[in-house]
């Protein structure tokens, strides 16, 4: 009878409260959203957690996600380059060069479409693609996850973040998406200018920054927003310094890359690409979807004198008929000085975004 009793007690001990597995108690992650930014929409099926964000950071820098264990997301999205690639085109593990410049990863939590052609509608969807792209990381997700699940540390991290011991690509994508949503840039000199212009109260430290803004920087901002000046604000507007649209900004008269048109199959979209943010533009060279411009001076010169007319050119490039907005040397300098106010050193150097 005693044995029976012992077996029963053991049975009870083993099976009782099985659902309350120890270790899965994710901690909600509180995003620090700048006061002049809108709230961020977080997908219901991927709530932000401290454990998810931390796992995402590990995965962002994890080379096991590539076929030969040599490349991670950060290879083409380097922190010092505002999480973009300083090379015109990124080279994948097979030594094949891509055809577009890697986009800067800034404030992605407010974006509605991803890649230059907008082919991904969510961050989670976007993250899945470079891993399996033969000219990028060239790895299958099952193999990548097999490598990760073979690592005890990752198994624990996936369990703590998602309560699963059978993590798959969707968990990896969710974790990286959580990490990317924390990458918020909103502490540049421009932010103080924006708040001032929109009658949003400034803190004491922002007041000090406000006092340091030069007449040239204000002059550049005025020119940036002037219809008869640089006329940049139609596409680069609001606290995010971008509008959500695809635009043909007059780079070419004929297209070698159809951009958005490749995705929609609509010829009216040919030559259009996602409007990028101008935040941290100082660090994210080279510029344009194909990285054709090495410097900000090249970009300013393009909009001033070298606009190419094509059937899908953005109607908001109103001076296209004259080749551009015709800025003189002094105006170009003012614009450049304003563009440099978009640099957010705290973002670039944030240890929370660095390799673990």
């Amino acid at each position: 009878m005693k044995y029976l009793l012992l077996i029963f007690v053991g049975f009870v001990f083993f099976f009782s409260c099985k659902k309350d597995k120890v270790g899965y108690e994710p901690t909600p992650y509180q995003l620090e959203i700048p006061s002049h930014f809108p709230a961020m929409q977080i997908p219901e099926d991927n709530p932000m957690t401290v454990e998810g964000v931390e796992l995402g950071r590990f995965l962002f820098y994890e080379t096991k996600l590539s076929g030969d264990n040599s490349m991670s997301c950060a290879t083409c999205h380097a922190p010092s380059s505002a999480f973009s690639d300083p090379n015109q085109f990124s080279t994948g593990i097979e030594g094949i060069e891509g055809r577009r410049n890697s986009m800067a990863l800034i404030n992605l939590g407010w974006n509605d479409f991803f890649f230059w052609d907008g082919r991904a509608k969510t961050l989670e969807e976007q993250i899945l693609l470079p891993v399996k792209d033969p000219i990028e990381m060239h790895e299958t997700w099952p193999r990548a996850m097999s490598k990760l699940n073979g690592d005890v540390d990752y198994r624990n991290r996936f369990y703590k973040a998602f309560g699963t011991d059978k993590a798959d690509s969707s968990h990896a994508a969710k974790a990286i998406a959580q990490f990317l949503r924390t990458m918020i840039s909103g502490k540049s000199k421009f932010d103080v200018m924006y708040k001032f212009e929109n009658n949003i109260p400034l803190s004491a430290s922002e007041q000090a920054i406000y006092s340091s803004i030069t007449a040239s920087e204000w002059g550049g901002y005025d020119l940036f927003r002037s219809l008869n000046g640089a006329d940049c604000f139609h596409c680069h507007n609001g606290p995010l310094m971008q509008v959500k649209k695809f635009s043909n900004n007059g780079l070419d008269a004929t297209f070698t890359d159809l951009g958005r048109g490749e995705v929609t199959g609509n010829s009216n979209d040919n030559g259009k690409f996602k409007v990028p943010t101008l935040r941290n533009i100082e660090f994210s060279a080279p510029y344009m979807h194909d990285g054709r411009f090495s410097t900000l001076d090249d970009v300013i010169n393009h909009y001033s004198h070298f606009i190419q007319i094509s059937p899908t050119i953005d109607p908001l490039i109103e001076f296209a008929g004259q080749g551009g907005v015709q800025l003189d040397a002094q105006e170009k300098d003012l614009i450049k000085q304003f563009l440099l106010t978009l640099s957010d050193e705290e973002f670039i150097n944030n240890p929370a975004f660095k390799a673990p």
Partner: protein, 249 residues
């Protein structure tokens, strides 16, 4: 033996106590009635499609690439329908505004075409995400230099040289805003079309009438306004013609 039985009974209680107890009953799905205001752009008698080419009264060829506008403070006297609806033909189709409710509560509606001064100059990030006035939804319909909202935005291209070839290289950009240009509109005895639990009030926006209403807009010469100084007359004409072109369908 008695103790053993007690332990077994206690054990059974312990074993079953945690099982399923935290399971919540699934929440009952809320089924409600929705009321929608939709706007169908037309060109005279036919439905209008962006990027398609139409002929103006003057014989010009014209295509519209974007049609967007705000209708704000939509209400039936004191019963608010919505704080603001945003029409964006390219990205949101014909929908202007959609709320939960019943059409019978909104037999008459009034609204601003544009955004009234009470909210026009507020911080656009401070509106709730669900509001079309939030900067994320407003997107390119907000000027941070004014600051304020763009009330309506019509963009396109035209060929104003009537010859055998169509060359749409004449840019048309109408961006109207500023408090002084705000228009109000009202609809009475509204007919709500009911399908299932959806009720819809349909409007049409006749772009031919917009160009050739009581006032004529000659796209050859009147092709651009950003509501700046010197553009007051065209901006007001744009707003007034737009109001005239919007009517129950």
């Amino acid at each position: 033996m008695r103790n053993s039985i007690k332990i077994i009974v206690l054990g059974l209680i312990f074993l079953t106590s945690c099982k399923e107890k935290d399971k919540l009953e699934p929440e009952e799905e809320i089924i409600g009635n929705y009321v929608n205001i939709e706007v169908q752009p037309v060109y005279d008698t036919e439905d209008l499609y962006l990027d398609s080419v139409y002929t103006t009264q003057e014989g010009y060829k014209i295509k519209f690439t974007d049609i967007k506008f705000y209708m704000e403070d939509i209400k039936n006297v004191s019963t608010q329908f919505s704080d603001a609806g945003l029409f964006d033909y390219r990205t949101r189709g014909t929908l202007l505004s959609r709320v939960q409710g019943k059409g019978s509560n909104y037999m008459n509606l009034s609204a601003n075409i544009g955004v009234g001064p009470a909210v026009n100059h507020n911080d656009p990030s401070a509106f709730p995400n669900s509001s079309m006035l939030n900067i994320i939804n407003a997107n390119d319909m907000h000027w941070n230099w004014s600051p304020g909202y763009i009330f309506l935005k019509i963009e396109g291209k035209a060929d104003t040289i009537p010859d055998a070839t169509t060359s749409l290289n004449h840019t048309i950009v109408y961006h109207a805003g500023l408090d002084v240009n705000l228009q109000t509109i009202s609809f009475t005895n509204i007919t709500w079309n009911k399908v299932g639990n959806e009720e819809t009030f349909r409007l049409k926006l006749d772009m031919a009438k917009f160009l050739n209403g009581t006032q004529t807009i000659d796209v050859k010469d009147e092709f651009s306004t950003h509501s700046m100084g010197g553009q007051e007359a065209l901006t007001l004409k744009i707003m007034e013609n737009f109001k005239e072109a919007l009517e129950p369908y």
